[in-house]
């Protein structure tokens, strides 16, 4: 087995997830009630036997660093196992990471020190279950210099992605970043293959390419610059990530925008979601603080009686539902919902309080926000737009630190 080093790209600004990224890095944003987005990729590494990981971080990296220390302090350095957080060192340049490729260029000294034969490059903001060993095996068999993992999706949805054009050997012969008219797969005209931002590189090839790219006028991005240049001159293959009867399904979501983040969270609430959190053979690891069990009670008397009712929802530890109604929502730890409040189709982050008779729907309420009694969110988007971010699909995002009256 070749020596492998894994680099996780976690340095994006997370602008499309703003305001959830106001005070934290994108991979440190909560997902599915108790997890952070990065936990999904790290759990994949854990279950794939990968133990040598560098996280290339940048903006608001303290939030991510803290989470990694709390929840992922399980590797043993004495056995050459580690997850190390590497913000830009700026040893020899005056700039921050200019793009994914530049973050590798600026850390060539790490590759020099570790001397891996292969480098696995992952993104810190995707939700999926993948055994990377199968992809590494494919890379070996093809004797490729670069292998790009890809997933098949509806063609019309591929316009926002990096779309691969392949030949019959799965060699990549074309790469279009966010094309107006995505090319389809040879076997189905309604589907396209899109890059998952998961790459296996032969190390020498990676080093040559990022050095070459660093000296060019470029966006220093793997998808936009490195891959399109490489397919012309090097052995670049597509690894088709699909349901092969094992633990993996072809489920893969980029949760880099508010709408995709919201949608992927809501998908967890289906009766049989494609992404199963309850699969004990592939647990997603995270840090869980000490908190009492969730409690759901009737509250008040007579006409004021509130029935605590929860349907199709995820409710975390420490939640107190004091006679409120929760439908199709995700509650992080320590959320308090008062009498006769209603929460529907919403994501409620840690420590939020929702006052009596308040009504919330189609919303993301960020940490520690206090919603006053009888307040409404999501019922009048015109009004909501004056105070909050409202996404294209009409989700209202209430940021951390806001004071409502």
């Amino acid at each position: 087995m070749e020596k492998l080093l894994t680099l996780i790209m976690a340095g994006g600004r997370g602008e499309r997830l703003y305001p959830l990224t106001k005070e934290k890095a994108k991979p440190a944003v909560t997902f599915g009630g108790i997890y952070k987005i990065i936990d999904f990729t790290l759990s994949n590494c854990l279950h794939s036997g990968i133990r040598r990981i560098y996280l290339l971080t940048q903006y608001s990296n303290a939030s991510l660093d803290r989470h990694i220390r709390l929840s992922w302090n399980i590797f043993n350095r004495e056995l050459d196992e580690f997850i190390d957080n590497i913000p830009p060192q700026k040893m020899n340049v005056d700039w921050w990471y200019r793009g994914t490729a530049d973050s590798i260029y600026q850390n060539i000294n790490i590759l020099e020190r570790e001397r891996p034969q292969l480098v696995l490059i992952l993104s810190g903001d995707h939700i999926y279950k993948m055994d990377y060993r199968k992809m590494l095996e494919f890379h070996r068999l093809q004797q490729g210099e670069l292998t790009v993992a890809c997933v098949e999706i509806q063609r019309e949805k591929a316009r926002q992605m990096g779309v691969l054009e392949i030949n019959e050997e799965f060699r990549i012969v074309g790469f279009q970043e966010k094309p107006a008219s995505p090319c389809s797969v040879p076997w189905d005209h309604s589907k396209s293959l899109v890059s998952m931002g998961v790459y296996v590189f032969k190390t020498e090839c990676l080093v040559r390419e990022v050095i070459d790219d660093a000296k060019r006028d470029s966006e220093h991005d793997f998808g936009k610059n490195i891959i399109p240049r490489m397919i012309k001159k090097r052995r670049v293959f597509a690894y088709h990530f699909r349901n092969n009867g094992g633990k993996e399904s072809s489920y893969w979501r980029d949760v880099g925008s508010l709408d995709s983040y919201y949608e992927a969270n809501m998908e967890l609430l289906k009766e049989n979601p494609e992404f199963n959190l309850y699969d004990l053979d592939w647990p997603v690891r995270t840090y869980q603080e000490q908190a009492p069990p969730a409690k759901i009670v009737l509250s008040g008397k007579n006409k004021e009686l509130g029935r605590g009712v929860i349907i199709n929802s995820l409710v975390s530890n420490g939640c107190l539902i004091l006679g409120g109604k929760i439908n199709r929502s995700i509650l992080s730890p320590l959320v308090r919902v008062e009498k006769n409040a209603q929460v529907e189709n919403s994501i409620i982050m840690r420590g939020v309080t929702i006052g009596e008779y308040a009504r919330i729907r189609n919303a993301i309420i960020d940490e520690e926000v206090q919603i006053p009694a009888r307040y409404t969110i999501g019922y009048n988007l015109e009004e909501d737009r004056k105070k909050f971010t409202v996404t294209e699909s009409g989700v209202v995002v209430v940021p951390q630190g806001v004071i409502l009256d």
Partner: protein, 124 residues
């Protein structure tokens, strides 16, 4: 393509080498700048519009590899030729930042050819 008058910076801690290169390169029609260590070299690169750098690796203080990374960090497009007595630095990923690598020799023909090649490439 006219290479005459191009500004070449020679970075080497050995004075004999600097003087030899200076003489030979002036004869080729280049304008030659000399630096005895990496810090001097970085200062010159900051001040002068240098067209090409010939860089030794083993020098007291900051070595050539580090100096090269800093140069690329400042003005990413100056061609850099590593000129070391040791061929094994070629295996280091860090040395791949250079545009070319010539092992030191008393005969400067190879180095001169590589200089021409890099200057031509830079003009393309």
């Amino acid at each position: 393509m006219e290479e005459k008058g191009k500004k070449i910076l020679v970075v080497d801690d050995e004075e004999a080498i600097r003087l030899l290169y200076q003489q030979e390169l002036i004869e080729e029609g280049y304008e030659v700048f000399l630096a005895a260590n990496a810090l001097e070299a970085l200062e010159i690169v900051d001040k002068e519009p240098i067209d090409l750098v010939i860089l030794d690796i083993k020098m007291p203080g900051m070595n050539g590899i580090e100096a090269m990374q800093k140069m690329v960090g400042k003005k990413s497009k100056i061609p850099i030729i590593i000129n070391s007595a040791y061929p094994h630095f070629k295996d280091s990923f860090l040395s791949w930042v250079a545009d070319d690598y010539v092992v030191k020799s008393s005969n400067l023909q190879e180095l001169k050819a590589k200089i021409k090649q890099q200057l031509n490439k830079a003009c393309e």
